[in-house]
């Protein structure tokens, strides 16, 4: 089904839910002022659903907003990763699943706007999507780009594009095969030597300005008081000392163990372009290898670090 048809179906379903008063609010995507970007919208009236859109730039993880609307019955438009985050959140009892209606959209993988911006010279003023191609226009150029070459790394490795947990799917499920077997970030990082790995991590984290965008955008980072804000005990210094930055990045990633759906929202939110998914994706791989767990596939299996098996591997313990 074409993207416009999917968009129509999303609007139709959203309108139906709102006019029948089955939900109070629809969370979806809408156009914004900039090309290559979309913005999350919160719609309360059936007429408002006309602003809902669907394209390859609907990259935000909408599960993040579920905490803010716990008093409402929410309809939410989900991709594979959003739905898995929501399942993980419902396992942690963050919301009442009965009050949330999932409109599932099988995801066609999202396009990396930063890669597109780098591919052309000059400012992009218009962008249009046609099938497998994106047409970007500036003042002096008009380029046709193949969508396949400009996908997010986390989307390239995605094997759960269809939100099977959704109450309704607007399109047929897509074929679940990754374009790349191992996450490119993890792959490159693992090829480095021990020394190089630390140097890379040190160098990349040194750019951090501690804006906490990666934390705010993540659906799984919902603590009312984050460990960085703790004053007693004070886990982490307040400045930009490299060790504090490293501490923050290690712990932020580690707190995602067995909870991260790998949507890549953290990396997209980073204003300093610090790679972050190579950390969380590795932890996901570890959890799969050690405990055979994948995030958000099952609403019964508890998160791996809150449970145990008697015969877990313990050969590293003396």
């Amino acid at each position: 089904m074409s993207q416009l048809a999917i968009q129509e179906k999303i609007r139709e379903k959203a309108k139906e839910l709102l006019s029948k008063k089955e939900v109070d609010l629809i969370i979806g995507f809408s156009n914004w002022t900039l090309p290559l970007r979309t913005t999350p919208v919160f719609i309360r009236t059936p007429e408002g659903t006309e602003s809902l859109i669907w394209n390859s730039f609907c990259e935000n993880n909408l599960a993040t907003y579920i905490h803010k609307f716990s008093r409402f019955r929410v309809g939410i438009i989900v991709k594979g990763c959003d739905a898995r985050s929501l399942t993980a959140l419902s396992l942690e009892k963050r919301f009442n699943p009965e009050r949330v209606f999932l409109i599932g959209v099988p995801c066609q993988r999202m396009v990396d706007r930063k890669k597109v911006t780098k591919a052309v010279k000059g400012e992009i003023l218009r962008a249009e999507e046609r099938g497998e191609e994106i047409i970007v226009e500036g003042e002096e150029f008009k380029t046709v780009l193949n969508k396949k070459d400009y996908l997010y790394p986390s989307c390239q490795v995605c094997t759960h594009r269809t939100p099977i947990q959704a109450h309704v799917l607007v399109d047929d499920p897509v074929e679940e095969s990754p374009l790349v077997e191992i996450h490119p970030g993890v792959n490159q990082f693992e090829k480095k030597t021990f020394e190089e790995r630390w140097r890379f991590f040190e160098k990349e984290t040194s750019r951090c300005i501690r804006c906490y965008a990666c934390r705010e955008v993540c659906p799984m980072c919902y603590c009312t008081e984050c460990f960085v804000d703790d004053y007693r005990p004070k886990w982490i210094g307040g400045g930009l000392q490299p060790q504090d930055l490293q501490f923050y990045h290690i712990v932020r990633a580690y707190h995602q163990t067995g909870r991260c759906s790998g949507c890549g929202a953290c990396e997209r939110a980073c204003p300093m372009d610090i790679p972050l998914t190579y950390l969380t994706q590795k932890l996901n791989q570890d959890v799969k290898e050690l405990f055979g767990f994948e995030v958000g596939l099952n609403s019964k299996t508890p998160p791996p670090l809150s449970t145990f098996e008697v015969d877990d591997k313990g050969d590293f313990i003396k």
Binding site: W198, F227, L240, Q243, F247, Y254, L290, F308, V310, I317
Partner: protein, 159 residues
């Protein structure tokens, strides 16, 4: 200076087994290296990975977490839950380029004074081989380091 360097090892011992094991080693007059500093915790499941990271950041050369043998936990499943945390943390630190040998785990029961002493010998040797911790250690004079911003070549120095 190098010759006289002795590693500092922080040991989190569980109240019910390993702490009693260390106590038994002491009362039985079994010798073990004085490099470990013991912190008594209620259970090895109490260990938040933040403790371990904070210790490493504060300049500790090695961290030992020791608890009851699987199945013997006073709180039934604390050490099983801890085991999963330790497994993922150790792998993650090695992945990042922090020596995995600096983070050690063991099961020592209250009757294993001998094992405790032997294990402390072993890990002290291992950490001595690794040398003083350099990575991730915050010192008084650590400053933000120089870096080049990606888009422009002008160097930004934060001091």
């Amino acid at each position: 200076m190098e010759k006289s360097w002795e590693p500092k090892i922080l040991a989190f011992l569980c109240n019910w087994c390993s702490y009693a094991g260390a106590d038994l080693a002491g009362t039985s007059r079994i010798q073990y290296p004085p490099n470990i500093r013991v912190i008594r915790v209620p259970c090895s499941g109490r260990i938040n990975p933040l403790f371990i990271l904070k210790a490493l950041q504060s300049g500790i050369d090695g961290v030992l977490v020791s608890g009851c043998h699987p199945g013997d936990c006073h709180y039934l499943s604390g050490n099983y839950i801890g085991r999963r945390k330790f497994a993922t943390l150790k792998r993650f630190l090695e992945y990042l380029g922090i020596e995995g040998g600096r983070v050690q785990f063991s099961w020592v029961s209250a009757a294993e004074g001998g094992k405790f002493s032997q294990m402390v010998h072993e890990i002290t040797q291992e950490i001595k081989k690794l040398g003083p911790a350099k990575r991730f250690v915050k010192r008084e004079d650590s400053r933000a380091i120089k870096f080049e911003t990606q888009n422009s070549k002008d160097k930004t120095i934060l001091k």
